[in-house]
């Protein structure tokens, strides 16, 4: 009888604002369906297509950026997504990552004989999840984004059927990932219990009155925050939730590792900033010390653990842990100035770091991909021996990228570190700043080791017999791009700093 009376009004949807998501989704679906129906595409097409989708999404994001410039930031789809600069920034970062990873992946797949559209589709979908994470305005949406990204990554990690390591890394990542996201979800539940909603604005609103007054009644929320932190810390690979990182990074197909280290980290940190600064600004005093501690552990732990490694992928895994520590320093700095819509040096320094590091790490793993040779197994230091003789250009590129990771001036890495450190210093957390720099020195040791084996160590008898290192076209493009970016940003960082929100 009253059926006509209550026709459902869904929330208004500004399709343009979510167009990047749609492009990525569409791209993935096309790859899956069309590729499934058509005979295998000629080589490179899958990769190029995926790359194009990423570019398209990126371009749209840039347009959105313009729009924000003119009309300011808004929320979308019934308050569940935010459209603001950090969100778009992360989106662009992720698209860039997808673009480069696609190029790196192309020849890799054919080399390993597992060609096919699925992996690219997963890139795109994972990217979608990541963007959602960074743009979420609702814990559940954020959680779903997280799951999309994670599950995609589980599969990708396990996708190299020939290598037992690949599958082992898959299962490990999966189990621990599920474990930690259960914690995250429980955290969401507890916060829901305290705030009566999972929407950021509502949470802030609901908690406003209790702030300052007697705090006992939000113990639930505090417990929730703890569990949320666990979930996020796991994703960004912060000590002591980092244990999966080396194993997974080493086991996963190298291009996938690159994707994890770039897009994965970017999304996770985007989400972390959202949760801590947007949803829980009133608790900054509570979680800042925790973040501080985690940052310290991550910095030191990552660098120290890296020192004893001999497998380059593992080294880079630990170095990515210590990079996460650096970014956490920025987060800690940002947490001194919560509230104010994603403002403050902290946030921008983190965002800049994410972009720079993503490009950097993909380039690095790109080189590793090439050096890994067929079977993706020659990734220990010995694999790099005498690379300078065999492929001077490649060695030089790797050297530059490593120096950048070490934070040597005139490279993008230095700019990134500089930004984070100055953010920390600006809020007078000197101790963590110095700790960060010192641990950077420790980490530098492993980069030097890699350089040594490329440039200085003499080749041994067996080395000449090894399969030569091939650097196919698309991979070259990817590496060249990231090296170029590294140098340009290193020499003229002004513009980048200017545009970072």
């Amino acid at each position: 009888m009253g059926v006509l009376a209550d026709t459902l009004q869904g929330p208004a949807v500004d399709w343009f604002s979510i167009s990047p998501l749609l492009v990525l989704l569409g791209g993935a679906l096309v790859l899956l369906t069309v590729a499934a129906l058509t005979p295998p595409w000629p080589k490179r097409w899958y990769a190029v297509f995926a790359a194009k989708c990423a570019v398209a999404a990126g371009v749209l994001s840039v347009l959105l950026w313009r729009q924000i410039d003119s009309e300011g930031s808004t929320t979308l789809v019934g308050d569940t997504l935010v459209l603001d600069k950090p969100a778009v920034w992360i989106a662009i970062t992720i698209c860039l990552a997808v673009f480069l990873c696609a190029l790196v992946t192309d020849d890799y797949l054919r080399r390993e004989g597992i060609d096919g559209p699925e992996l690219y589709a997963l890139y795109l979908l994972a990217a979608l999840g990541g963007i959602v994470m960074a743009a979420a305005n609702d814990l559940i949406v954020l959680f779903l984004g997280l799951e999309i990204l994670s599950i995609a990554l589980y599969v990708m990690a396990a996708s190299h059927r020939k290598r037992a390591e690949s599958q082992e890394s898959g299962i490990k990542y999966f189990v621990l990932g599920g474990f930690s996201s259960a914690f995250f979800l429980y955290g969401v539940a507890l916060i829901y219990g305290g705030a009566g909603s999972t929407n950021f604005n509502k949470i802030v609103a609901a908690m406003e009155p209790t702030v300052g007054s007697d705090r006992t009644n939000d113990a639930l929320v505090l417990a929730g925050i703890a569990l949320l932190l666990v979930g996020l810390a796991f994703k960004v690979a912060a000590v002591p939730f980092h244990f999966w990182t080396p194993d997974v990074y080493q086991g996963a197909p190298t291009p996938v590792t690159a994707f994890m280290a770039s897009a994965g980290k970017a999304a996770a940190f985007g989400a972390m900033l959202r949760v801590l600064l947007e949803a829980l600004p009133n608790w900054s005093d509570d979680y800042r010390p925790a973040v501080w501690m985690i940052a310290l552990l991550t910095l030191v732990g990552g660098s120290v653990m890296a020192v004893v490694q001999t497998n380059v992928k593992r080294m880079l895994a630990f170095s990515s842990v210590s990079h996460a520590g650096f970014i956490l320093v920025g987060v800690e700095a940002a947490a001194h100035r919560p509230g104010a819509p994603m403002g403050g040096d902290g946030v921008s320094s983190v965002l800049m770091y994410l972009l720079i590091y993503s490009v950097l790490v993909i380039g690095t793993f790109g080189v590793v991909t090439a050096v890994g040779r067929t079977g993706d197994s020659a990734t220990d230091l010995a694999g790099f021996r005498g690379l300078a003789k065999q492929k001077p250009a490649l060695a030089l590129a790797m050297t530059l990228l490593l120096l950048a990771q070490a934070g040597v001036p005139l490279t993008s890495g230095f700019v990134a570190k500089f930004g984070v450190i100055s953010a920390a210093v600006d809020v007078h957390s000197y101790a963590i700043a110095i700790a960060a720099m010192v641990s950077a020195v420790i980490a530098a040791f492993i980069y030097l080791r890699i350089m040594v084996s490329m440039w200085i160590t003499d080749e041994e008898a067996g080395d000449v017999a090894r399969e030569p290192v091939r650097v196919p076209a698309l991979l070259t493009v990817a590496i060249a791009a990231s090296v170029g970016f590294t140098l340009v940003v290193g020499l003229f960082p002004g513009w980048l700093i200017n545009i970072t929100p």
Binding site: L403, V425, D426, L448, M451, P493
Partner: protein, 518 residues
């Protein structure tokens, strides 16, 4: 003339050269060498131009050029030269061509040779940059970037334990600069308070910002650690013997002659200049460390069995004098320190060259395996003797002038330390003469019979340096009158920003007329 960006050229010329060398084709080896030499010679030419165009009486910075680099962070490409940095530039400009032309890198292949040369030129660019940059950030960039080529130089062309030495050098120095980077940022951000926008400009900060005493001291130490490592100041010196010994001759020369000076120069220009109060406050510490360094380095040198290590440790001792003079903060002492930078560069550089030649001839640096070289190679021995005497600090050679000025200048403010430091002069004679006796005196055994006399090529590399050694020793006035005004201004700056007052000696009873001003 000023509108020609000559200082910028000092940095760019070698950098461009490095790139060209790297790109040059392997098929024209001579072309590679010529490119490298050409760019370094040009750079040297520019540095000499700076020297001659330099206004004598001027205390302030000359040839300054400033362009915004990273606006959002208030960082600019700000270069300038004053009396304190002038001769460091000239030394760098003159030494590099000599090293590039005169010292064989013993590269295995042509591509090796190319790499060697471009690393060399990169070092030159970095060193030049750090001597002329007037922007904290810019300085740090140069200060840090030098590590990389040096690392590869030691690691790639060094001796037995080269990788260990190179890594040690890289990480050790990096730890130091880790603190400095934080210090630099903190300085800039704290200085911001006064005038809204952030700036990394050395002069602006030094003139405007006044930090609370405690803050200033923390910041000062953040800087000082980095420089102390670079100098190297006892007890942060142990990277140096390894680096020096393992580096190829060219590397050792550069390392000793110019790289270490980035430390002493930094202490002066960035440490004390920015934080006079803290510097004055912490002088006893630095006096003590410097003095210990002088004695300790000398003693350690005496006991070395490796000729190159002796020279390396002698650097520790000599740099101790420079630090002592720098912190003594009297015009004479500071000028002496600045001058000693150059003197040490010349004499120790030459010593490393000579040791390198010995190694090339005998393929050993072990004193025990050398004997009676003076008999078979008297000229070689003679040159070695002159350089050694300058290093010992015998009057009439350059070493003495700086050393004496440092000591006499420091006596007023650091009496007891000077008393000890002066005793270090005895030790200098001890270890060098002992080494000389073991290597050059006595009857040469058959292994050393065939020791070649100094060749013309080698002579042409050494004689310019020897010439400078003698000239500076006999007639240092031209140098001093260019250094002095800047030093005076520097000390006035310190006096303004701290309660330190430069002591002046008791008034002479006879008026100054007797002293011919020229």
């Amino acid at each position: 003339m000023i509108d020609f960006p000559i200082l910028t050229m000092l940095v760019l010329m070698p950098a461009i050269g490095a790139v060209l060398v790297a790109l040059a084709s392997k098929r024209h080896p001579d072309l590679v060498k010529i490119t490298a030499l050409g760019s370094s010679v040009l750079t040297g030419g520019f540095s000499l131009w700076v020297l001659f165009a330099f206004e004598k009486g001027e205390a302030g910075f000359q040839f300054t050029s400033q362009h915004a680099w990273i606006r959002p962070w208030g960082i600019s490409w700000h270069l300038g030269v004053d009396g304190i940095s002038l001769f460091l530039i000239v030394l760098t400009g003159v030494l590099f061509p000599l090293v590039i032309a005169g010292i064989d890198s013993h590269s295995k292949s042509m591509s090796d040779q190319k790499r060697y040369l471009s690393w060399m030129l990169l070092i030159e660019a970095g060193v030049m940059g750090s001597f002329i940059s007037l922007d904290l950030f810019l300085f740090f960039v140069f200060f840090e970037i030098v590590l990389v080529p040096m690392y590869f130089l030691i690691g790639g062309w060094g001796y037995e334990k080269r990788v260990y030495a190179a890594t040690k050098f890289f990480l050790f120095t990096m730890v130091g600069s880790a603190f400095m980077l934080v210090g630099i940022i903190a300085t800039a951000l704290l200085a911001k308070a006064d005038d809204g926008r952030v700036t990394f400009d050395l002069i602006k900060i030094a003139e405007n910002a006044d930090f609370a005493a405690s803050t200033g001291r923390w910041l000062f130490f953040a800087f000082a650690i980095a420089f102390a490592v670079k100098v190297p100041l006892f007890p942060l010196h142990t990277w140096l013997p390894d680096a020096h010994t393992q580096a190829p001759t060219g590397g050792s020369v550069i390392l000793a002659a110019v790289l270490l000076k980035m430390g002493t120069y930094g202490l002066l220009r960035f440490g004390i200049y920015l934080f006079p109060e803290a510097a004055v406050w912490s002088r006893p510490l630095f006096f003590t460390l410097a003095t210990i360094g002088i004695v300790w380095g000398a003693i350690a040198a005496t006991m070395q069995t490796d000729l190159k290590r002796i020279v390396a440790y002698s650097s520790v001792a000599h740099l101790g004098f420079i630090v002592l003079g720098t912190f003594a903060l009297t015009t004479t002492a500071v000028s002496g320190g600045v001058m000693q930078n150059i003197n040490h560069g010349l004499s120790t550089g030459a010593l490393f060259i000579l040791v390198g030649m010995i190694y090339e001839r005998r393929h050993t640096r072990q004193i025990a395996e050398l004997k009676g070289l003076q008999k078979v190679a008297p000229v070689f021995a003679g040159v070695f003797m002159i350089v050694m005497l300058s290093s010992i600090g015998v009057p009439g050679l350059n070493g003495f002038v700086g050393e004496f000025m440092v000591l006499v200048g420091s006596f007023a403010t650091a009496r007891w330390w000077v008393t000890v430091a002066a005793a270090g002069v005895i030790l200098a004679a001890l270890y060098l003469l002992w080494a000389y006796q073991r290597v050059f005196h006595g009857e040469p055994d058959e292994a050393n019979q065939g020791f070649e006399e100094l060749k013309w090529k080698e002579a042409s590399l050494l004689f310019p340096i020897v010439g400078l050694i003698v000239f500076t020793g006999v007639y240092p006035k031209p140098m001093l009158e260019r250094i002095e005004p800047s030093v005076k201004a520097f000390i006035e700056h310190v006096e303004q920003h701290s309660e330190y007052n430069e002591p002046s000696p008791g008034e002479p009873v006879i008026v100054e007329e007797e002293h011919g001003e020229d």
